[in-house]
């Protein structure tokens, strides 16, 4: 039983460290998403982000292939890291409750 409790404690410490790592990686990703808008038969790109709750569009012109690919990757990793951060938070809740046992909350 002690061995299992020890493993759970170690895993809780790991998950707490992991949460910080994912939060740091998410903060490091560039803000916003690139969206394509058709205007008078032409396609133009805008960087959409939120600033104090307000949606902000920054004109990016026709957009270079490099920039489009960069924001595609950012979107992919943001979704992935958010999903994993949510998984880590669930693990933390589970491990904390498992370690607490019958102790009062």
């Amino acid at each position: 039983m002690k061995v299992i409790k020890g493993v759970l404690k170690e895993e809780l410490a790991n998950s707490l460290r992991m949460k910080k790592s994912y939060e740091r990686e998410l903060a490091r990703l560039p803000k916003g998403s690139l969206v394509k808008k058709p205007i008078k038969g032409h396609e133009y790109y805008y960087l959409v982000s939120r600033n104090h709750g307000k949606v902000k569009f920054i004109y990016k012109g026709k957009g270079s292939a490099k920039e489009i690919e960069k924001y595609r990757q950012v979107k992919h990793y943001r979704a992935k890291y958010r999903k994993q951060l949510s998984e880590v938070k669930k693990q933390i809740r589970f491990l904390r409750s498992a370690l607490r046992g019958k102790e009062p909350v």
Binding site: V3, G6, E11, M18, S21, E25, K80, E87
Partner: protein, 226 residues
């Protein structure tokens, strides 16, 4: 679909193999016991309790000639770089697994990370890991092979380090792992191998292992080691 922990571990090892880095690595820690199944064959054997850490030992860092950025290799699987404060050891973390690099500590004890620029990471130097780096065995995992410490070396190393654990629970976990592996080796009739590995160790280490084995209350193991 999210990969299961075992599949994820195999994928990590496969990518390291493809990059050429795996041939410089020995898989140690609780995850290696999972791959002992083929070594023990029909012998009743229960893998030890695992945490999410996969410990990868780089026994000869200067001999690593390949150039592989491990963080980049594993990025699309969802691994991110995590730092173990305050020493700054790099770990590649994922909700299902944590990849850590270790190396053999030589000379004066130091908690400074050992840089592995060829792999874009650093390694934690630890004492006694040389036991795991010799007499290694190879296990076939799907389409590649992985180097593992011989089970006898693994078990004796666990007994040796159990004596140095400040944490009682970790000490018990080490002893539990050692007993499972030693029991399986004895069932396989490999008492002589255990004895041979034991006698090849320095006398001080042998004494520490003897001391740890006395707490096991397992006569079969005691008869081999004492």
């Amino acid at each position: 679909m999210e990969k299961s922990q075992y599949d994820l571990c195999v994928e990590v090892l496969r990518r390291l193999d493809k990059s050429g880095a795996l041939k410089h690595i020995v898989l140690i820690g609780s995850w290696c016991t999972l791959f002992y199944k083929s070594y023990f064959g029909h012998i009743k054997y229960a893998p030890v309790l695992k945490t999410r850490d996969i410990d990868l030992l780089v026994p000869h860092p200067s001999a690593v000639r390949v150039k592989a950025n491990v963080a980049e290799l594993l990025k699309d699987l969802g691994f991110v770089v995590g730092f173990d404060a305050p020493q700054g050891y790099i770990r590649l973390v994922h909700p299902g697994l944590i990849v850590e690099f270790l190396t053999i500590e030589k000379g004066r004890p130091s908690d400074k990370p050992y840089p592995l620029p060829q792999l874009g990471v650093n390694a934690q130097p630890l004492r006694f890991l040389e036991i795991l780096a010799r007499d290694t065995i190879t296990a076939k995992v799907e389409d590649f092979s992985v180097t593992l410490p011989h089970p006898a070396n693994f078990a004796l190393h666990k007994l040796l380090i159990s004596q140095r654990r400040p944490n009682r629970q970790k000490e018990e976990k080490d002893r539990d792992a050692a007993v499972r592996i030693l029991d399986a080796l004895i069932s396989k009739g490999e008492q002589d191998t255990i004895k041979k590995v034991f006698l090849s160790l320095p006398a001080r280490w042998q004494n520490k292992i003897k001391k740890a084995s006395q707490t096991l209350e397992n006569n079969e193991i005691l008869s081999v080691l004492l």
